[in-house]
């Protein structure tokens, strides 16, 4: 077990190094003059003096290998700073990482409860209408761009709800601002709940329909499996057959998906956070990207990738608990 985790951590480190290399090559090695990109932002033509300044400040005149080591060190120690705002990246991460995690965790909670619940219910009422509706529903939700969904939701709860005097609970403020001081880091008070519910819903939307459909498929598969027939044949009550045999087995792939998806939630939050102005890593990356603030994009991307990798590791470890056939000692 320990050796498995260690081995996975080493492999994660190599993956992160690979990811860093890909991004480094794209940002600093391939552009003919990265200083121009950083200084120029949105295709403006910066004066030569600014370019020279940037070149010196970021040591862009050094050889590529030297720069690689310098950036790697800077990223690992979070010692870089934003070109635009001069904000040290260690502060940025410390400020925004908790918000990103809160959003991802709440989105995951929605994904699991709503997704698994719907999936189990629709698997029990098995007929072509539910089939069609779930396929169509999944396709529609997957086809809606996150930003369209987000704006529509804001439009309804933030504008129409106020214009048309909807009940208090349906009116949600348009601008959200995550205060510090959540209980235990993740439990919001009422105001905070009002602010997190919309971005969490939007962020969870696609994953939720995927989980619902996955649960439905695996439930039907498990329900038709031989061992469920055995469970019934030995005289278990239907409730026991469902919970101990059908659901228990059907949830294994669902748990895997949800875990891997946690990383995706953190990554995909870029669009959601941007639309709602949620002060997480994603909205900061988007802003930095728009401003060509390469050091910020590079460092924060690596933080997101590391979260993704750690989430996957946790899934793999818990997977072995859920499915005894998986042995952690063995190769993948």
């Amino acid at each position: 077990m320990t050796s498995f985790v260690l081995r996975r951590l080493v492999s994660l480190a190599f993956t992160l190094l690979g990811g860093f290399t890909v991004l480094f090559v794209l940002f600093f090695a391939l552009p003919s003059d990265p200083a121009e990109v950083i200084a120029g932002g949105n295709g403006k033509n910066p004066p030569q003096s600014v370019i020279d300044n940037v070149t010196r400040k970021y040591h862009l005149d050094e050889s590529i290998p030297k720069q690689y080591v310098r950036r790697l060190w800077e990223t690992m120690t979070l010692s870089g700073e934003s070109f635009r705002t001069r904000e040290p990246l260690s502060d940025t991460v410390a400020d925004r990482l908790p918000n990103s995690l809160r959003l991802a965790i709440w989105a995951m909670a929605i994904e699991v409860t709503v997704g698994v619940g719907t999936g189990v219910l629709s698997a029990r009422r098995r007929n072509s209408l539910v089939d069609t509706a779930s396929t169509l529903g999944t396709a529609i939700v997957s086809a809606i761009p996150v930003f369209v969904l987000a704006y529509l939701l804001r439009q309804v709860t933030g504008v129409y709800a106020f214009q048309h005097q909807w009940p208090e609970w349906a009116r949600l403020p348009v601008l959200s601002e995550a205060d510090r001081g959540w209980y235990l880091g993740i439990i919001p008070n009422l105001d905070q709940l009002e602010q997190i519910i919309q971005p969490a819903l939007v962020l969870a939307s696609v994953s939720t329909v995927v989980v619902a459909r996955l649960t439905r498929t695996t439930m039907l598969e498990a329900a038709g499996s031989d061992h469920v027939r055995t469970a019934r044949a030995k005289g278990l009550k239907e409730r026991q057959v469902l919970s101990r045999h059908t659901l228990r087995n059907a949830l294994i792939p669902v748990v895997t998906f949800v875990g891997i998806d946690f990383g995706t939630l953190v990554g995909f939050a870029i669009l959601t956070e941007t639309v709602f102005g949620w002060p997480g890593l994603g909205s900061r990356v988007a802003r930095a990207a728009g401003q060509s603030d390469l050091p910020v994009v590079l460092t924060l991307s690596m933080v997101v990738m590391a979260l993704y990798g750690i989430a996957n590791l946790i899934v793999d470890v818990s997977y072995a608990k859920l499915d005894p056939r998986i042995r952690l000692g063995g190769a993948r």
Binding site: T15, L16, G18, G19, T21, V22, L23, L26, F27, L30, P31, V37, N42, G43, T132, T135, L136, A139, I140, S142, A143, I144, P145, V146, F147, V148, Y151, L152, R154, Q155, V159, G263, T264, V266, G267, F268, I270, L271, T274, V285, A286, A289, G290, S292, L294, V297, S301, V304, M305, Y308, G309
Partner: protein
């Protein structure tokens, strides 16, 4: 062999459920696809969009012509989808936006598929160093959040239609390459491939004639779904301001540009939004239908 060996006698219920004799795989798949109402609905959507993209420009107004007097006007008879905050006809922009979305989606997917098949085929067939390196690269790139990866590529490639197509293709070949490689690894062990090798048929010829047709099915599903994802990704990039640049019309950018006007002019969100949704939905449904019709396992 005894007659009652269960493996030698096809069971009655099994032989019943299989397709009738003499039907080719493609015909059989098409029969199943046609029976799938949602897939057919998706196909109708795609056909409709193609017609809009081809015929639309002859019908609608010039999307780059800005009125000097009318701004933010709700839908009227002259402007069926209304006029935006710059004075441009929304319908014309939506039609041209769909046209460009389809063009970008299809071009990027074609390119992505070619790259994916090449890399997957070579990695799967020859194995060795190239296989190790390319599959490690795939792992690493799949570990980078998609939007960030796309952003990194577009930083290098610049802005505009070509840059977007290249970015989408260079970030989307990963799944195709994995699928093709897996298909090749499987096919390499098949007896007829071994036989062809023993007969001295050239490697490239075996790959082309005997193995590619086998990996064709999952790839065709990836293509259909891929067009939808590419269109969605283009909209997201343009929404973030790093994709299609003016004066080219883009659905994603239309939404980003008019976001401060939604409270008073919701049609500026609804029409381009619906256009993206319908376009992506069409391709996703066709992809789903193909997956079922060709009986491809989910990846």
């Amino acid at each position: 062999m005894t007659l009652l060996d269960p493996h030698s006698v096809p069971s009655a219920d099994q032989s019943l459920l299989e397709a009738g004799p003499g039907r080719s795989l493609a015909q059989d798949a098409w029969r199943r696809f046609r029976r799938n109402r949602l897939a057919m609905f998706g196909l109708v959507l795609v056909a409709f969009l193609v017609i809009v993209a081809l015929v639309g420009p002859f019908v609608v107004q010039d999307p780059t012509k800005f009125s000097k007097t009318v701004f933010k006007e709700p839908p009227t008879n002259q402007h069926l989808f209304g006029v935006d905050h710059r004075g441009a006809d929304v319908l014309a922009n939506v039609v041209y936006g769909i046209r460009l979305s389809l063009f970008i989606g299809i071009m990027a997917t074609v390119l992505e598929t070619v790259i994916g098949i090449l890399i997957g085929a070579v990695a799967g067939w020859f194995g060795g160093f190239f296989d190790t390196v390319s599959m490690r690269l795939v792992d690493v790139m799949l570990g980078i959040p998609y939007i960030i990866l796309a952003y990194a590529f577009i930083t290098v490639l610049g802005r505009g239609v070509l840059a977007v197509i290249l970015t989408l293709a260079l970030t989307a070949w990963l799944q195709t390459a994995r699928t093709v490689r897996a298909g090749f690894l499987q096919a390499k062990e098949l007896e007829y491939v071994e036989a062809a090798k023993a007969l001295g048929v050239g490697q490239w010829r075996i790959m082309w004639r005997h193995i590619l047709p086998n990996v064709f099915q999952p790839v065709i599903v990836l293509v259909a779904v891929g067009v939808g994802s590419a269109i969605l990704a283009e909209a997201a990039l343009s929404f973030l301001g790093v994709g299609i640049q003016p004066p080219e019309p883009s659905l994603g950018r239309m939404i980003a540009d008019s976001q401060s006007h939604f409270a008073t002019a919701p049609y500026l969100l609804i029409f381009p939004g619906l256009a993206i949704i319908i376009t992506v939905l069409g391709f996703l449904l066709v992809g789903d239908g193909l997956r079922d019709a060709l009986d491809v396992k989910d990846t």
